[in-house]
Amino acid sequence: GRMAAAVLLLLQLLLAAGPAPGRADAGQERRDALREELLLSPLPTGDVAATFQFRTRWDADLQRGAVSHYRLFPKALGRLVAALGVRELHLALTQGFWRTRYWGQPPLQAPAGAELWVWFQPTVTDVDKAWKELSNILSGIFCASLNFIDSTNTVIPTASFKPLGLANGTDHHLLRYAVLPREVVCTENLTPWKKLLPCGSKAGLAVLLKAERLFHSSYHSQAVHIRPICRDASCLAMSWELRQTLTVVFDFFSSGQGKKDWSLFKMFSRTLTDTCPLASQSKVYVDISPKNKEKELLEVSPPPTSVHEAVVQGEKKTYAVYDLLSPSLFNTSRSLNVQLKWKRPQDSSEMPIPTLHAQRYVAGYGLQTGQICTLIYNTHPYRAFPVILLETVPWYLRLYVHTLTIITKGKENKPSYIHYQPAQDRRRPHLLEMLIQLPANSVTKITIQFERALLKWTEYPPDPNHGFYVGSSVLSALVPSVTAMKDTDVEQSPLFTSLFPSSDGSSYFVRLYTEPLLVNLPTPDFSMPYNVICLTCTVVAVCYGSFYNLLTRTFHVEEPSRGGLAKRLANIIRKFRGVPPL
């Protein structure tokens, strides 16, 4: 009795005192969380856009202290942020172009090719060196040629690209921006992107990410965003947030086979079977907003678990929500195949026009000069708003800033702020940043003339006749909202509403990209060195050779030969006969 009690007490003391090595973090609360989300929005032209967002939030400070235990946050990116003093990182790889005019404002757009912009911590002394190292390391992680980012395509914007996360002050010398418009996106970029997800592509929403369907689309954009955010509403501590987003637009004609009805199986050739056990939230949102305040046009099946209303990009929208973690969803069948059907055929006159959209093209003829024209449309009936235009033009298109004209409604429109940094040959590109006021219901045309340079023959790429790309220009604007947005708790609202921090509800921030341009430079004929060598050598051999012969050739008489054996024999016989020899 007493002995047993004493032994029990001793055992309890031992267990409480020493830490059990196998349960090292069982007592701690979880400091990281994963939320995943899929947004399906049917577009006015009959296409459908699917946006995946995977957000890992980690309540730790990567800069201070040696963090060695990575759970949901990928170690490759965590080590990168800590070692190079990165405050914010945004990398996007895109194939295709988002047609704002026909599809509406994008939730998050990226330019064609690869785009990388990074804010460094103020403690970093040599920002250029850190930038070069960062692009090399990222090229290894994502199998992209980001190592081609160097001073010839990097710029330091002064007004655009303010930090999206917590910021203590914005010294723009800590910002770097580069875009590689020629970069191709394919499965080898998707594979490492999927491997960064905590569940990989084996469970949860990521099972839908199959390359054969994702690249057979009009627009495919995958991005990685790392930034510090407020840990809670009081915002006294910060957490690190990693967002991986993937936007894909399936074409009505090629993937949809000409029918406007979509389903998960039709889009991805797969359905959802289970949830990622590491995710704290896993939802599918379908945009069922009625157009023109009429009754709903779109029908979804199976019936959603709930309906969510939110003000997104200044408009009131309704979403059907499928919560994959709710037990009732997978009750009837093991797989979830969300289907969208149109109740009645859509009128083509119902296509809404977005408030802000832009277009860019190259004008002119010939291989010497040209003109870059940008058209920016403000279709709001009575509100004007400012827009910042950022253009990065490679050094071999020499811009003439004195030919810059900005014309709105027939009159000249002087920008409130211009920052122009001219290019240095082979060292720095052109940077043009302007803050322009767009009057209500207007079209603004910005033109600038350029001259094409002749490159050295070793600087041409192996396929120079394809042309040279000029990266997309960036338009950042605060567009007035139709419906005022209320301040809601970031943690409760869907992920697609919380990427851009909003200051007041009367306007929302949007970043648009224009088309990239393809420009032909005067290209030499690369077979000419061979032709010239052949021709020169022939001419030299013929002319010089002839002169040399004429000058140095002497003529001398040659003794006739004594003749062959037969002739000698004949001569001997003739000698005997007394006849003169041959």
């Binding site: 202290g65 594979t191 921030f509």
Partner: protein
């Protein structure tokens, strides 16, 4: 006998360097060649971290590909060699002669990531596969530069002197491919080529849906041969030499084994194409310290900020308009300006003489 075999091979790790040197859509077959060797090598056990894959152009997501994200090797789209899990280390414009030689010799800029390096040592067996357009003594890279057989032989000699390989298998599938291995002079190299000097390597079959030839003949039959190999198979190199006789290949494949020390009869295919690890069983025991785990579980304490942190304003119009341009750092005048001023001053004093200085001051 198997134990003897196992002990005699002498390598502890396997590497593969697979290079496709051709650009443009009509050279689809070269990318398919390289990807089929990549697929076999991965299937037989070499991990992505030990494969350096160089593709000079992107065929899978090419706008002319009717089936995006696929590269087929058999007509009627039977076998997708691109797959879902592929890591290309050098793509597009990065595939140059300089980068290829740097990868082989290890003379790479320090900021290159690990996946782009060939980190082999003196116990590595390396497989090098090259395909593209070639001629007598050279191989074309992306239609703009060439690598000659002398350069390649010298690169292998550098690798030997730095002890970067134990044994090397070099396979080349181009026209007149045998000319590329004529000049090798380093030991432990075995070479195979798809055609002799003066012969062209031909392509296999076109697919009418895709519109181009899908594979070259030699690599097509090598792929079929490798599909039957599994990590434990005992097939040796002599069988690989017999792949693709003249009746199937139209060209005469060649091989060179005089530099190789072992008899090809005793060399397994998996010595180069697979990754067979040697396991040494030890009887020593290690005791793990129980206290280590306790230290790891503590998180560094954080101090909270005194006032709330805030997000930056995305478009602060007033702040932007009133931004003062940064004062340019004053640099002392450079050489040209100094020289110009020195010239002007010299001419002035030569003309007017020193005695006029007092009028200046």
């Amino acid at each position: 006998d198997q134990a003897e075999q196992f002990l005699r091979s002498g390598h502890t790790n396997n590497w593969a360097v697979l290079v496709c040197t051709s650009r443009f859509w009509f050279n689809y077959r070269h990318v398919a060649n390289t990807l089929s060797v990549y697929r076999s090598v991965k299937r037989l056990g070499i991990p992505d971290s030990h494969i350096v894959l160089m593709l000079a152009d992107d065929m899978a997501c090419n706008p002319r590909n009717p089936k995006p994200a696929t590269v087929f090797s058999h007509k009627n789209m039977e076998l997708n060699v691109y797959g879902d899990d592929v890591e290309v280390d050098y793509r597009s414009y990065e595939v140059t002669v300089e980068n290829f030689l740097r990868v082989l010799t290890g003379r790479i800029p320090p900021s290159t990531p690990r996946s782009k390096r060939l980190l082999s040592d003196d116990r590595s067996n390396i497989l090098i596969y090259m395909t593209g357009h070639g001629g007598n003594g050279f191989l074309k890279f992306q239609d703009s530069e060439e690598i000659t057989n002398v350069e390649l032989a010298d690169a292998f000699e550098q690798m030997w002197q730095k002890r970067r390989y134990n044994e090397l298998l070099f396979i080349i599938d181009t026209c007149q491919g045998a000319s590329m291995y004529e000049r090798f002079y380093s030991p432990n190299i075995m070479a195979l080529a798809s055609s002799q000097v003066g012969e062209d390597s031909l392509s296999h079959q076109p697919d009418l849906g895709i519109g181009v030839h899908l594979m070259d003949r030699y690599t097509f039959y090598v792929l079929e041969f490798l599909e039957e190999i599994h990590p434990a198979s005992q097939t040796n190199m002599n069988d690989l030499f017999q792949v693709c006789p003249k009746s199937l290949c139209v060209s005469t494949p060649g091989h060179r084994t005089d530099l190789f020390q072992r008899d090809p009869q005793n060399v397994l295919i998996t010595d180069f194409f697979g990754s067979v690890r040697k396991v040494e069983i030890t009887t020593e025991a290690l005791s793990l310290d129980r206290e280590v785990a306790a230290v790891e579980s503590k998180f560094p304490d954080e101090e909270l900020a005194t006032e709330p942190l805030k997000y930056a304003e995305q478009l602060p119009v007033a702040q932007i308009i009133h931004q003062k341009p940064k004062q340019k750092d004053w640099h002392p005048p450079g050489g040209f300006i100094l020289g110009l001023w020195a010239l002007i001053i010299m001419v002035f004093f030569k003309t007017y003489g020193i005695k006029h200085m007092k009028h200046v001051f």
